[in-house]
Symmetry: C2
């Protein structure tokens, strides 16, 4: 038997606060140079994921393929990623971060880690580690539970309002 509904409800408030972090990140200019915020996120994803196709990124970020297509265009114009035709399928291009792109992501993550480190300077290292472990685990479970049976549900997607 899983956790009680009350315990799950305890998660809601910090989760809500967490989603609000996007605003803080925007305010702190936590994005790569020359590319908008969303594209920076895509670039980070690509660096951690390694060479892959655009549709993989779209699926993973739960956005439409057109969104990824445009952001890929921005990143390519900025010289942060490169495309390579897939030898096995001429429709797809394989995306990979350039050296500049990897450098930008490293710098960005360093700034983020520093920011968090300052905010949590009173924490025990083991506690932060434990939080990271639990959070990572929870996100994997939530993603797995949500993406698979929520994804093939075309009735569900009538415009974003």
């Amino acid at each position: 038997m899983g956790p009680t509904a009350e315990t799950c409800a305890e998660l809601l408030q910090p989760l809500r606060a967490l989603l609000g972090l996007k605003q803080v990140a925007l305010q702190k200019r936590l994005e790569a140079e020359n590319v908008p915020y969303a594209a920076s996120g895509l670039l980070t994803e690509l660096v951690h994921r390694g060479e892959c196709r655009a549709s993989d990124l779209a699926h993973h970020r739960v956005v439409d393929a057109s969104v990824v297509s445009r952001q890929v265009g921005q990143l390519e114009s900025a010289g942060l990623i490169s495309r390579r035709p897939d030898p096995a399928d001429k429709r797809v291009s394989l995306l990979r971060a350039t050296t500049d792109g990897e450098r930008a992501v490293s710098a960005l993550e360093a700034r983020k880690a520093e920011w968090i480190g300052e905010a949590l300077r009173d924490w025990d290292d083991a506690e932060v580690h434990e939080l990271a472990r639990l959070l990572d685990s929870a996100m994997r479970d939530i993603r797995r539970h949500t993406i698979q049976d929520g994804d093939c549900d075309p009735v569900n997607r009538e415009g974003n309002r």
Copy 2:
């Protein structure tokens, strides 16, 4: 003296995944009836916060006052919140969720908790509780460190913990 940079970096990936939850929430229609997603978040904030002014909400959500103004308009049109002139200052109107608004938030949070509960059905209740505790604590510290938070809650009802 605080967590190491490496440990903080461990947080980055789950945090990134967490921000992506917004997309999942949009697809699952995790919003109140008749109001867009962002306004639903504002309504939830208002319910937990109790009666307050628009500028308080703007500050805590780290958005411009104009954004709150428009979302308040949406929520008022939907009958989910009500305004009351502040007797002490004729410029401000005090905002409060209506009974309908509170009902909508309750229903929304129940759906969210159910969703999370299903995703974490293999978890131990104590572990979820521990995650909630750590996450809540971390968010408070990050917020406090990032925003100068003169957290003056004049009418703090309902200690959401």
